[in-house]
Symmetry: C2
Subunit: 225 residues, 2 copies
DNA sequence: TGTTGTGAAGAGGTTCACAGCG
DNA sequence: CGCTGTGAACCTCTTCACAACA
């Protein structure tokens, strides 16, 4: 055990999503800076990299503590450790992938996945054609057996990469098996009880936001045939 | 030409991302309701489906016009058409995929992609091993030839599914070739000139938001070994 | 009567500006 | 002197409450 989880308690109860999103961004920049042997960084420099303002950077960090040195800035390697701790990346997260399809595969093969401490411990599907087969080195199991496996393998997070139509039913199985975190790739809003956290990666929504932006842009100027 | 693009001009100049995101969600629910032959829906019902409030639904829609009937609600099929129009889904979007890998494949095979009017017109990569090969029915071309193709094939949107390290360079090529919309799957913040819209699908960030939420949750109660 | 559309009030996040320190 | 940390002002989005109306 590392025993230092929760050193950086926010003074305020609830931290905004937008803040955590930026912390995650800062961390990526800091790791890049660290790779270039940069030892110190100012809020101004971090802000430029992240497309925000120096005040925003300082405010974001100050919600969790005082990590900088006045007149100097932030020590890159220290801040990396702090942010990893805050974001919960100082430990391993055990992940079950539900839906042995292409999206899950893309995620599992995404370099940052393993590197950030996310480890696939089980893969499920409900398609008899897939069950028993191999998927990225894992045997695909029947989703019906999930609840029984959880006690043994203790996954922390379930990744839902099933079609929209079966996403809610899948989420229900996941919830009832006791998993408290869900990363949802299906283009539906999952309904879960309090105490379970859902995050959605919404390709459909982002595409539509893009479509909206482009359509708006076309109004004033050209409006292509 | 359909000629009715831009009927629904927002009274305010700038619509919030969060609003457009909800419109996209409403549209999905409306299509589901339409499939069940439901003809009318109240803001209250839409709100329940989308996890928001009726006032929010009405406010969101009222930014673009008055589409409901007092005492009755909204006509499902009419509202579907209105939202499709607002979101720019009443036309075809020509898409170039840059990075012939697994994520792009997952996206291209996602049902809603074609169905919502997004059509892949070209696939690029910079890996000589992939160039010339077949990818989901498309010949993979050298990304260096992109600028020349754009004049002929007029893609509206480029999907960036290359590794983080080459994402910015790829975006630069895309921008200089004249494409105005980018859907970015790489875990980096793309820097583009004004006039180009970027949307990011960030698996890394959402994973970290999930990790943060779970880590926080562990503090008060159990704090697993 | 039932539900929309909307001004006004409220909440929450961002920006400002400067005191506080190294 | 430079840069952080932070209360206060600002602004934007959300919620409320009710008039308007089919």
């Amino acid at each position: 055990m590392d025993g230092h989880a929760g050193i950086y308690c926010p003074s305020v109860r609830q931290i905004a999503d937008s803040t955590v999103r930026r912390l995650s961004l800062y961390l990526r920049f800091l790791e890049e800076l660290d790779g270039r042997r940069t030892t110190t960084v100012s809020s101004e420099a971090l802000a430029r990299l992240g497309g925000t303002t120096s005040a925003q950077v300082r405010k974001d960090l100050s919600l969790f503590g005082s990590f900088g040195t006045r007149g100097l800035g932030y020590a890159v390697s220290d801040l990396i450790e702090v942010l990893r701790d805050i974001l919960g990346l100082d430990r391993e997260w055990r992940v079950a992938i539900v839906g042995a399809g292409k999206i899950g595969l893309a995620l599992a093969n995404y370099g940052g996945f393993r590197q950030r401490g996310f480890r696939v411990v089980a893969v499920y599907d409900n398609d008899p054609a897939k069950i028993g087969g191999l998927w990225d080195g894992h045997h695909v199991r029947d989703v019906a057996t999930m609840a029984g496996d959880v006690a043994r393998e203790r996954p922390d997070i379930a990744v839902v990469t099933v079609p929209a139509g079966s996403a809610q039913a899948t989420a229900d199985i996941i919830v009832s098996s006791g998993i408290k975190g869900i990363l949802n790739f299906a283009p539906v809003k999952l309904r879960v009880p309090a105490g379970v956290t859902v995050r959605a990666v919404s390709m459909a929504t982002e595409l539509e936001l893009l479509s909206y932006a482009l359509a708006q842009r076309g109004l004033g100027a050209k409006g292509q045939a």
